[in-house]
């Protein structure tokens, strides 16, 4: 890396390039001195690199802006290009809907204005363009309010610039900026409040839209900006390096900034209806998602002590930008995050920001795994401070786990187990020993149990047992050691016939008999004599046992003898029996159960519908509130179906490109042939139509080949499209089945658990009627429509949990309805009409309807 590069890249950092000091003025002078000299020879390299640095390290934008301002004094032409390039980039970002790029480029423009490279009025014009587009969107008559998400985003962009240049704008163009502010105020009054429903990490099922009183993201930002304005636009978190160079910078030429355009308003639906508008609104929120949803897990005293509200916003911007742009660069990302140049501590804010991303609904910008890594790296970077803060976050979330959204809860479990696996599984478990005194369905207890389960999967049983040895009672929450539960072991004396059949089958597999031979053995010897139940049990148990040693063994057995299984389990009923047998064989090992079912679905030995049916069988339904086991399997099946659709869509779009290029190649070859054909050439002195035969032949062949190629790509496109249509149809059927099943299992429990349409969390009368050892009767109770017994337990120290079992069952199940719906909402929306007709009928319980509606982010109807 030549030195101008590293100086530009590292500006503002404590690094060897700058001799270890962190004086911004020195840095700018040094950097400017070197870049100025290089400008003559390398301006073609410097321009894109400088812009890239500004774009990807936006927390250092003020430095890059000032650098450009200084260069403007040396080389106006270069800076004119910087401005032009920025204009095209911004225009491009707006049209492609690249949110982060748009926001960062606008910030860059703002600092260019501060450094006198741009007229303040040019920036105002940009703001007004965005503002007017936003205002049009939310206008009922002229616009399309379903796309408010985009309008809100534009306004957010304007407001986000003000911490970086509000002071300059007010000083230099007070009337214009005032006009913009008035415009935003007007916008705020016509837009609708954005309800968090369905996307909030904490939600109480019984409360209807609680967000009425709370500010949404834009309202909150607007409030922070108004505070900033009333404090004279002074804030601590944004450096103002241009001030040190003000006397020089004023001499620079202010450049023109060509006007930008916002993309057209998306068309309103042709036939506006609740569904069509809801669909558009959903789509717009997917394209212009809210960047952060604050978790508020730490007390304000830890978060915003001594800082202004706007500083919190700015630090969040810094952190989110680093997370976004430096994803995949571990070292740099962590070092920028811990080394922000702000004069206050922000480790709590940093933790809350990262957790709010990890738990962001419906989706974080990156996989949860990424945030796991970030947290690990920050714990390593700040071993004294960060682990404590992380632990604080875990405790805060644990305290509120009963209200935590199910999707968030699952992410939290996976993250926490993974995190601990990177830190030797050390955790003060004794703090949570009290969960043992809670009933089996208490969310805190389930949380601890599932974290331990996931820890074991990443490690091994003995190791995890050892990690909780200071709190030996917790062993009760460990799953069994994950050994297989083979029915026909040597010691087992029962079922002698089955046992010997199993031995026989095992011998055949070892003797490498083919599927065909085994199938005829089954058809001729086993089925007729022993019947389906025994045959299925023997075959599945034996094959699973042969494949029990590892994932690969399982795959090998299924690849070799899948046919045997598919022949034997040739309809849905038998597939459900097959799944039950898998679950029985691996009853001590949830992971292997899930893997085996997943693989069998991969080989199409079982359908997703069979899995749904099995998950909703009574023995699973009974553990909906006490274990994640059935849910993991259900969610795997749904996500596998969904993955297939995504893969096909990707393949189709790539084949579409192939078709285009094949078309081009084919028409080119045809043209060449035609033009050669029509040419007259001399052969042996005689004029002949067409070029020489050899060349003609070659052209003809290649034209034919290209045509064939085109036809075959088209064919494969059609084939894939047919597959996609089938997959989408399968998906529709799957969701109908899923909602029907939910609806069926929920009917009675909801009716029994609800009083006045509300799930009564606790039964105050029963509070003292402790009935601890009665969980064994629960199965029966559940099947009868929910237990009336209270298992409330007043002994534990933390805030007492006394939700009745049947109520918790309803809460957990509804929470999964919502979370599964939300996760696949984009695939469910196309089928909403059908759902409305077949599932969401008037007699559906309002709480179930609410769960589905909020998962879809669909505004509640009058029903």
């Amino acid at each position: 890396m030549s030195s101008w590069r590293s100086l530009v890249l590292r500006i503002g950092e404590k690094c060897p390039e700058y001799g270890g000091n962190v004086d911004f003025k020195d840095h700018l002078e040094t950097c400017f001195g070197v870049v100025r000299r290089e400008l003559e020879h390398s301006s073609d390299d410097i321009l894109p690199f400088l812009l890239q640095c500004a774009k990807e390290l936006p927390h250092k934008i003020p430095l890059y802006g000032t650098l450009v301002g200084l260069l403007n004094l040396e080389n106006e032409e270069f800076v004119r290009e910087v401005v032009e390039k920025t204009q095209t980039n911004l225009q491009d970002a707006l049209f492609t809907g690249s949110c982060n790029k748009t926001r960062v480029l606008l910030r860059f423009l703002t600092v260019l204005m501060c450094s006198k490279v741009l007229q303040p009025s040019s920036l105002i014009v940009v703001f007004e363009t965005l503002l007017s587009s936003a205002a049009t969107t939310v206008d009922e008559d002229k616009g399309n309010p379903s796309w408010q998400a985009r309008a809100d985003f534009y306004i957010t962009c304007i407001l986000s610039c003000l911490p970086w240049g509000g002071a300059e704008l007010v000083e230099q163009v007070p009337e214009e900026i005032d006009r913009v502010m008035v415009g935003i105020e007007a916008y705020m009054s016509i837009r609708s409040h954005v309800s968090d429903i369905g996307l909030s990490a904490f939600e109480d099922f019984n409360v209807n839209d609680k967000s009425g009183g709370e500010k949404d993201f834009l309202e909150d930002l607007w409030g922070r900006i108004q505070d900033l304005s009333s404090s004279g636009w002074k804030l601590e978190s944004v450096p103002r390096p241009h001030l040190s160079f003000e006397p020089q910078l004023v001499g620079g030429k202010a450049h023109e900034f060509a006007p930008i355009n916002c993309p057209e308003q998306p068309e309103s639906p042709a036939a506006p209806s609740e569904i069509s508008c809801g669909r558009q609104k959903y789509e717009s929120e997917l394209k212009y998602p809210q960047r952060i949803r604050r978790l508020n897990i730490f007390p304000a005293s830890k978060l915003e002590v001594d800082i202004q509200p706007i500083d919190r916003f700015v630090v969040e911007e810094y952190l989110l930008d680093v997370l976004f742009f430096l994803n995949g660069c571990r070292k740099e990302g962590a070092s920028y995050m811990v080394g922000l140049h702000v004069p206050f501590r922000y480790e709590y804010l940093m933790a809350e920001t990262i957790f709010s991303q990890l738990l962001l609904l419906p989706q974080p910008p990156f996989r949860p795994l990424y945030y796991t890594l970030v947290i690990i790296d920050l714990c390593k970077a700040l071993p004294g401070a960060f682990p404590t803060v992380v632990a604080g976050a875990v405790r805060a979330l644990f305290d509120k786990i009963a209200d935590l959204d199910m999707e968030c809860r699952t992410r939290l479990i996976l993250w926490f187990a993974h995190h601990l696996s990177n830190f030797q599984f050390i955790w003060p478990w004794e703090e949570w020993a009290f969960v043992l005194e809670l009933p089996k369905w208490a969310p805190q207890r389930v949380f601890v149990q599932e974290v331990l389960e996931r820890e074991i999967r990443l490690s091994y049983w003995e190791k995890i047992k050892q990690s909780i040895e200071d709190t030996p009672t917790l062993v009760e929450l460990l799953p069994p050691k994950g050994l297989p539960n083979f029915r026909y072991t040597a010691e087992d004396g029962r079922d002698e016939t089955e046992h010997s059949l199993s031995v026989e089958l095992n011998g055949m597999v070892k003797g490498r008999l083919s599927s065909k031979e085994i199938m005829s053995w089954i058809d001729e010897t086993v089925l007729p004599t022993h019947g389906l139940d025994v045959t299925l049990r023997v075959v599945i148990q034996t094959l699973l046992d042969i494949g029990s040693k590892s994932f690969t063994h399982l795959v090998t057995v299924l690849e070799r003898y899948g046919q045997v299984i598919s022949r034997l389990c040739n309809d849905q009923d038998k597939q459900v029996m097959l799944i039950a047998e898998v679950s029985c064989y691996w009853k001590n090992n949830t992971q292997m159960t899930a893997i085996a079912i997943d693989r069998m679905m991969s080989y199409r030995l079982i359908s997703n519908l069979a899995i749904v049916r099995w998950v909703f069988s009574p023995s699973n339904v009974n553990q909906f509130h006490t274990s994640d086991r059935p849910w993991e399997i259900l969610i795997n099946a749904v996500s596998k179906t969904y993955n297939r659709i995504t893969d096909l869509r990707k393949e189709i779009s790539s084949i579409k490109n192939d078709v285009l290029s094949a078309e081009k190649a084919s028409s080119k070859a045809r043209e060449e042939l035609e033009s050669a054909d029509s040419k007259l050439s001399l052969m042996d002195g005689e004029p002949v139509v067409g070029e020489n035969p050899m060349k003609m032949k070659r052209l003809r062949t290649s034209a034919e080949k290209a045509k064939e190629e085109e036809a075959s790509t088209r064919e494969s496109l059609e084939a894939k499209e047919a597959l996609l249509a089938r997959a989408i149809n399968e998906n529709e059927v799957l969701f109908l089945a899923l909602y029907t099943s939910f609806s069926t299992v929920l009917v009675e429990p909801l009716r029994d658990a609800c009083i006045d349409g509300i799930l009564q969390p606790s039964d105050k009368v029963d509070e003292m009627a402790i009935d601890t050892d009665d969980t064994s009767t629960m199965d029966l109770d559940m099947e009868n429509g929910g237990s009336k017994k209270s298992h409330s337990n007043g002994r534990q120290s933390s805030d007492s949990y006394n939700v009745k079992e049947n109520v918790q069952w309803c809460l957990s199940t509804l929470a999964y309805v919502k979370s599964i719906t939300r996760q696949y909402a984009s695939e469910i929306w196309p089928h909403v009409e059908k759902l409305d007709k077949e599932i969401l009928t008037e007699d559906m319980h309002p709480l179930l309807r609410k769960a589905i509606y909020s998962g879809l982010r669909r505004p509640p109807t009058g029903l």
Binding site: K14, V338, L340, R367, K380, P387, N422, E431, Y460, K549
Partner: protein
Amino acid sequence: MASLFRDPNKISAYRDRRFPGDQEEFEQTLLKSTTVYVGNMSFYTTEEQAYELFSRAGEIKKITMGLDKNTKTPCGFCFVLYYSREDTEDAVKYISGTILDERPIRVDFDWGFQEGRQWGRGRSGGQVRDEYRTDYDPDILPKLFILAVFSGYGKLVQKELEAQRELVDYNAGSLGSFHPIMPLPHYGGRHERHERNQGYGGSQRHGRDFHHRKRYRDDDRREPEMSKRTSDHESRRNYDQDSRPEKNPRFRERGDSDEDEEGDHRRRRP
């Protein structure tokens, strides 16, 4: 995303000698591959443990354990095959350098598993990269990275760190020459627990069970960082064979071929 800090010319530091093609073709293959190579694993890590970790980057199609060509037992590497390229990239980006089964693993793009590649190619039958351990990204090595990481951070943080350093016992000195993988987390707060800081002592307290031996085995592997690498490899191999007949409840014996199955079968259920 950000390309500022990535060297686009370096998709993998490791060049497989068996790849049938030149460097450019090799890199092209890596750019499209949906297979990752996972190295520096514990010999005891099972496919299922790898599955749990690697499925967090996406749906897994296949896992192939690397086996010692002499003993036919896992020897510290595996291949994970994904369905999609994006998932493969995420596995490399986010899993490399993290801990699996108490060891920092390394994850790289791979040009694709082919029959025969499951056998270790090291001189002694094990993992070949083991013999080139200096190749490793210093980040994932159990070095005293703490000091290195801190130089360069903001003043405030630095000060804060110095104050905090007292609280965390990074080195848990009792284990002598071997350096911990990472600083022990300090979860102070509601219940301040100083005895936590002994951390590594956890396994020491179980002097007699096999985990203790396992730890020692691991320790043996880390310790000779600075000593001769081949002898390190030999010693761990010997050690590993010594420990093989021991009953290890979480390690399911596996020979990769069907011929072995009968034997394994009996061994697992005596």
